[in-house]
Symmetry: C2
């Protein structure tokens, strides 16, 4: 029997296309494990989900509620994925009636929230009644299954790259996947390692829900995943998805854990030139975005590695501004700079080939 994607809708009420809805956005852009047949968000109901995101039609309708989605989907969904990466990982209260409805329509629920929906009494009872499952994917494995840091990656015969960012929800995962896919198209075997819920929900073959793991085991669990991917796949390159930002005051572990576990040959830094304040909760804290130069200093000091390229998130920019920023950053930081959504990953991929592969080809 051939591998078959599971048909799923994504719940993103009131948040599709925003930073909060990054899991839904990511699944519309790219989904391996699930076939996304619809998004539920009454704000954008009637539109095409792809068009909401970047103007490109993807034949994924946005529905106003669960009933609408069930009645009008061309393929009957079997799963509903919670499509928000909410701060603190709690289920928005406005989502509760949608989840209850989905259970009544016999959809299995898939959630990457810190709040475990399977532990919710009402949801649990409904799931039992309608004979469906609630899958909480962002759970820490039991203590006896966790791995500790063993300093293993430095000895692996594979080029290890990380895509880090100056903020959370800034496009690190999309950049990492795009680069990994293009390298594979060039027959340079590359494995993408997911470190967050969206990448895991998208169906990354290797990954770890890093922010669900307690601090003492974070580095070890990621290291174990990388070593495992290396042993099974024997790739030439491994690209690890970043989390948060090394200077982000609220997300203090992710970038450090990723650098230490990966011991990367090079760092790709994703930045949004127009973003003024860090992505954090209701934005009322108005935490200013970091300066790129300070971010690079921190990353290089911690990793003993180098930022080899900068990639741009063009939110709030027109094409002219994008070109200007690319020229400005290239002359200032002396590394290739690219907007991957506009220009594709080739500029960065060529640079990676030149730095790490050309000698061996």
């Amino acid at each position: 029997m051939a591998y078959k994607q599971k048909p799923a809708i994504v719940l993103c009420e009131g948040a599709f296309g925003t930073n909060l809805g990054k899991t839904a956005n990511g699944l519309v852009f790219y989904s391996n494990k699930y076939k996304i047949v619809g998004v539920v968000d009454s704000v954008h109901a009637g539109k095409d989900a792809g068009e909401v995101l970047d103007g490109r039609k993807r034949n994924i309708p946005v529905y106003k509620n669960i009933e609408d989605a069930i009645s009008n989907s061309s393929v009957k969904p079997k799963f509903m994925i919670i499509g928000v990466a909410s701060i603190g990982g709690k289920l928005p209260t406005t989502f509760r009636p949608f989840v209850e409805d989905a259970l009544r329509y016999r959809l299995n629920i898939v959630s990457g929230l810190h709040e475990y929906l399977g532990d919710d009494k009402k949801f649990k009872a409904l799931a039992k009644k309608y004979n469906v499952k609630i899958l909480d994917i962002r759970k820490q494995p039991p203590l006896h299954k966790l791995h500790q840091f063993r300093n293993l990656c430095k000895d692996l015969d594979v080029i290890r790259l990380v895509v880090l960012g100056t903020d959370s929800s800034i496009g690190k995962r999309t950049t990492a996947i795009s680069i990994a896919e293009r390298l594979n198209e060039y027959n340079i075997k590359t494995i993408f390692i997911a470190t967050g819920q969206t990448g895991l929900l998208q169906g990354a073959k290797y990954g770890v829900p890093l922010d669900a793991i307690q601090g003492d085991y974070m580095v070890g669990e990621l290291e174990h995943t990388i070593v495992n991917a290396y042993r099974i796949e024997k790739p030439k390159i491994i690209v690890v998805e970043g989390q948060g930002s090394i200077s982000h005051p609220a997300y203090v572990c992710g970038s450090r854990a990723i650098l230490t576990a990966t011991q990367p040959h090079g760092i790709i830094l994703q930045h949004s030139p127009m973003r003024k304040y860090r992505n954090f909760g209701k934005q009322d804290l108005k935490l200013p975005m970091p300066e790129i130069s300070r971010e690079i200093k921190m990353l290089e000091l911690f990793s003993n590695s180098k930022v080899i390229a900068i990639t741009i998130n063009h939110e709030g920019m027109n094409l002219l501004q994008i070109e200007e920023v690319i020229n400005e950053y290239e002359s200032r930081y002396k590394v290739p700079v690219s907007d991957i959504l506009v220009h594709g990953p080739d500029k960065i991929v060529e640079h990676i080939k030149k730095l790490y592969i050309s000698k061996s080809i």
Copy 2:
């Protein structure tokens, strides 16, 4: 009824006086909540626990097993505290029969391990049979009770100091408590904030088991604790205990979370000049200790604060070597340097008074 310390023995089989036994060591040095009436470690049985640690008698006998402790303690213990801070927080298997014996002797068990002893079937059954409790203190509060970062400390009218270190198990807590106590003796009201299991077990009035909290909430929980301590106590100074080291490859969250939550006016850096390898597991990884200058660079870059003093852990050093190191570091790093266990905290305390208090007295 006056406040009464609870009589307790500390289980530290095979590890008393070592880095692994730091919880037991700490409780022998200083204990507020529990009155320590004995240590169980067959290796040092018959000696005085204080003498094992630093040659100073403290009238706390070391016993060979639980029966020995129960039969010979001058005060009957009601609690047994697990005295190891094991890597990964698991109960050493050699400890199991001791814990079972303690339950049979009707001792309540207090544990700061990540492995929850109260969830262990055998222990649970014994605790029920003998009508005693198992208290796992290093548990994360439920999700709905956790606090997120709110950037609050910067506005508090209190001098905030942190004692960080170049490694784990290096004396940060002892230094922090010593400084806080001396400041209080000078009528400069100072509150110590614990961030680890030992400080909490010692009975710190304010604290948070930082490494049991998931990453997204670490900074917020500590910040909440600091704000709470400030509001209730209205101190002039708050001293926050450090965790791990900012450059430690396995403990990636602690120091960062503490710096971000505290937003300190100054950093005191604890270092062990003779330690060659980082304290981590069985030491077989042989991770070299960091250079002080690189550690200071990292701390200052991340905190936008300054290292204002260096304190020495004199393991493996004689008095002459201590003096030499103090002189060398003072001329190299241009800050006061002191061995607090040898010379007491006055040199550092005077410096703190000069920097932060003198103007206001």
